[in-house]
């Protein structure tokens, strides 16, 4: 209990895991679970709406004002659906596969830092841990395809796993070059810890995406492409393309089991986006922490979370005003106005200085991850699908050599620009 209260003291600048505070660590784990679930629900709605607007249509509009309750309806429907297991399926493996995929997707969140002190733990091999765990997801997919005892899921899962394995290599190499950049300082020591990487970006004064231009940018782009392939999203979603293989490895899953796969897919998306944000986009750092320092700029940037919520609330009120004024829409209008009011209240709460400071890190992090989510949806709306052999060719013949080249070049550039650090290490 003392440890609990001591941790509440603002002067603590360590993650619960580092601090040895298991209660807070557990709380963080539960919070992450809840937050990711909420994020997945929000992503569902956002994807349907944004994709629809890109396709000049409206998307869900009926279930709740502007379809805001659609994800809840979908979740409810999935939960109450009949649980069908194919007769010849391998029941234990069939039951275990979605759990395996979900567990690996969520385990990567253990090391992702939402702020300096807002992570479950700060392992000093955080990057390595994250890479290893995400590779385990492939196993779950193979289990799903195999246990379905049917032709289409089997083909789909084999293709999925081949795709994921190929792109993991490019991902890993891109991560290596980011890690190498952390050692471009006076002492020449880098770190594999996720929090350490963000702090390295802070001390070097620039996000890694801009450092050693264009090498950091290329590494970032390679990772951004590989992460889309890793999560089986468009344009690399042939394994689940409806026009070819019905639904790939999760064809035979229905109801709750399918929703677990769905949850795992979106959680993985948010997870790899978080990794990209941490490694290249400066994690929880606000824009221009070194160029625009000082309390005034801090406060100015600190108003952003509240501003975001006010803008969202404003959009809700705008929608309320534009609702048709007929009795059938009254409940939707009230609902939307209420939702807008809630958002506005949250914005007001975020203006309070104490809350503001604690939330800032998480806000910037979430904003950057949201940008990546928008990119995911944008890709889905714009690109056709890659054929499987073309997909493998891109992974092996394009991304792999490029990321290898970037690693070598980063090493060389680092060698020649930070000779004192290298000398220091060698000595």
């Amino acid at each position: 209990m003392d440890a609990f209260l001591k941790y509440l003291d603002k002067s603590v600048q360590m993650t619960p895991g580092e601090y040895g505070n298991y209660i807070w660590a557990t709380i963080y784990i539960l919070l992450i679970f809840a937050a990711v679930s909420v994020a997945v629900i929000a992503m569902n709605w956002l994807e349907r709406k944004i994709l629809a607007h890109m396709q000049i249509r409206l998307g869900p509009m009926r279930v709740g004002p502007h379809g805001l309750l659609q994800p809840i309806a979908d979740a409810l429907k999935l939960l109450i659906k009949e649980d069908i297991i194919p007769a010849e399926a391998d029941k234990v493996v069939f039951w275990f596969a979605p759990i395996a995929v979900m567990v690996t997707a969520f385990t990567t969140y253990l090391v992702i830092p939402f702020g300096r002190a807002h992570a479950v733990t700060d392992m000093n091999i955080g990057v390595l841990f994250m890479l290893g765990v995400s590779s385990l997801g492939v196993l779950g997919i193979i289990m799903a395809g195999w246990s379905s005892n049917s032709h289409y899921p089997l083909m789909g899962s084999l293709r999925s796993s081949a795709q994921m394995v190929s792109y993991e290599i490019a991902m890993g190499l891109a991560i290596v070059s980011a890690v190498m950049m952390t050692s471009m300082n006076s002492t020449g020591t880098g770190t594999l810890s996720m929090i350490g990487i963000v702090q390295a970006q802070l001390s070097q004064g620039r996000w890694f995406v801009f450092s050693m231009f264009p090498l950091g940018f290329i590494a970032f782009v390679v990772f951004a492409i590989a992460m889309v392939a890793e999560t089986n999203r468009a344009p690399f979603d042939l394994p689940e393309a409806e026009s070819e293989l019905v639904a790939g490895f999760h064809t035979e899953y229905s109801g709750f089991r399918w929703s677990l796969f769905f949850l795992a897919e979106y959680a993985a998306m948010i997870g790899v986006s978080s990794i990209a944000v941490t490694l290249w986009l400066g994690g929880w750092l606000r824009p221009f922490p070194n160029w625009l320092p000082g309390a005034r700029w801090d406060i100015a940037f600190g108003l952003f979370p509240a501003l975001t919520f006010f803008i969202l609330a404003g959009m809700c009120f705008l929608g309320t005003i534009r609702m048709p004024r007929i009795p059938q829409f009254r409940i939707q209008t009230i609902g939307l106005a209420g939702f807008g009011a809630v958002l506005g209240l949250i914005g007001l709460v975020l203006l309070v200085p104490g809350v503001r400071e604690r939330v800032l890190d998480m806000y910037w992090f979430a904003l950057k991850v949201a940008f990546f989510m928008y990119l995911y949806i944008w890709y889905r709306g714009t690109f056709p699908r890659y054929r499987f052999d073309q997909l493998m060719r891109v992974g092996w013949k394009v991304l792999l050599p490029v990321s290898l080249g970037v690693v070598i070049l980063v090493a060389l550039v680092g060698l020649f620009t930070h000779t004192d650090a290298v000398m220091g290490v060698l000595r």
């Binding site: 396709q55 690109f383 699908r385 499987f388």
Partner: protein, 384 residues
């Protein structure tokens, strides 16, 4: 079909790994219900892993016996049936039929009717190509162009609705001319539509033509040489994309097409990408034709003087037009009575579908879907 199934033990399930995973050939059935076979088409693929060794198309799911029905209806009564064959480009079907019967009667529609026919047929050509583009892109995975093309196609369907009351199966023409005079504002609508459409075609091209993934999915896929295309009787944009500069509107003009100035786009590579470009350019040329036709629309009657009871003299005639899908021909045998003795419809999609086997040999399964899309078949026409 028996030779296709001999290799696989029908009792084997996937747990019998020897048969499924180690076998050399797999027979895959893209059944009549499938999101990508446009209509009820069944394609039986013989695969070696992912490579296609051979295909067999099973058609006839939409066979309605149109040719038999024709023998039991009068010429005028048969006119609405014709729209239902290629229901996407119904106006072209009607044009072909009316022209064939007019040839049998040795009459010609008056100039104003001919111009109106040309305008509506070209509008329909654009609508058909737009539908093709949307569904073809959807098969390849680009889900957005579908909505753009359908939204723009709505404008054409609005014009049709204002003209003859129906959007899809229009029954717009009559034997001897057109029944309906153009409505007030028809010319204005058509010209506005032409101005509206050209930037939209650029929009479709922006999304797809230089899109790296689109190019990779379509270049080199479904190749057919000009010689093979002629031997297989393939016509339409498929033939033109293989380098054969042939369009019935220029080679054997009908309904006043010789008065219009337009070009025939051809492709040089005979692959899916070229067919896509050819159809996009055809849309632009159609806009050109519509503008010329609207600006030069003559005054005059819209219906030739033909008897109320049509009894064409004994004889037979074959007349074909350039439908959006290819050469659509009508072979009509008349025995002097009010009902045709035999009407044979030469369907372009039926003959083009034969080329599927040649085009997908050696490709991957994902390409079969792309090639079926690029052939632009409509099962109503294949099966009649």
């Amino acid at each position: 079909m028996s030779d296709f199934y001999e290799d696989i033990d029908p009792a084997a399930t996937v747990t019998d790994t020897k048969t499924y995973l180690d076998s050399d050939e797999l027979v895959l059935n893209m059944g009549p219900q499938h999101p990508s076979t446009h209509g009820v088409l069944r394609v039986i693929l013989k695969l070696d892993g992912e490579k296609v060794l051979g295909t067999e198309c099973v058609i006839g799911y939409l066979h309605r016996g149109v040719e038999k029905i024709a023998e039991n209806r009068t010429y005028v009564q048969f006119n609405p049936y014709v729209d239902r064959m290629d229901y996407v480009a119904a106006v072209s079907n009607g044009l072909g039929y009316c022209l064939a019967v007019e040839k049998l009667l040795n009459t010609e529609a008056p100039p104003r009717a001919q111009y109106i026919r040309v305008i509506l047929t070209e509008l329909n050509r654009i609508a058909s190509h737009q539908l093709w583009l949307g569904t073809h892109a959807l098969d390849i995975g680009a889900i957005t162009p579908l909505f753009y093309t359908f939204r723009d196609r709505e404008e054409i369907l609005k014009i049709f609705e204002k003209y003859c009351g129906a959007r899809l199966t229009t029954h717009a023409f009559r034997i001897g001319g057109t029944q309906y005079e153009t409505y007030e504002g028809f010319e204005r609508d058509c010209l506005d539509f032409c101005d509206f459409l050209l930037p939209k075609i650029d929009e479709y091209e922006t999304l797809l033509s230089t899109n790296r993934i689109w190019v990779e999915r379509t270049k080199g896929v479904g190749y057919i040489s000009g010689k093979d295309a002629i031997a297989l009787g393939v016509t339409g944009p498929v033939l033109r994309a293989s380098g054969v500069r042939w369009d019935l509107r220029k080679a054997q003009p009908y309904s006043g097409y010789d008065k219009f100035d337009f070009e025939i786009p051809i492709g040089l590579n005979g692959d899916t990408y070229d067919r896509y470009i050819v159809r996009i350019q055809e849309m632009r040329q159609s806009v050109r034709i519509i503008r010329q036709a609207v600006e030069g629309l003559p005054t005059g009657p819209i219906m030739a003087k033909i008897p109320k009871v049509l009894k064409p003299p004994v004889g037979e005639v074959y007349h074909s037009i350039e439908a959006p899908k290819g050469e659509l021909g009508y072979f009509i045998v008349s025995d002097g009575s009010t009902q045709p003795y035999r009407i044979r419809v030469r369907p372009p999609s039926f003959v083009n579908l034969q080329a599927l086997d040649v085009m997908v040999r050696g490709s991957l399964v994902a390409d079969v879907v792309a090639v079926i899309g690029t052939l632009d078949i409509v099962l109503g026409e294949v099966d009649r």
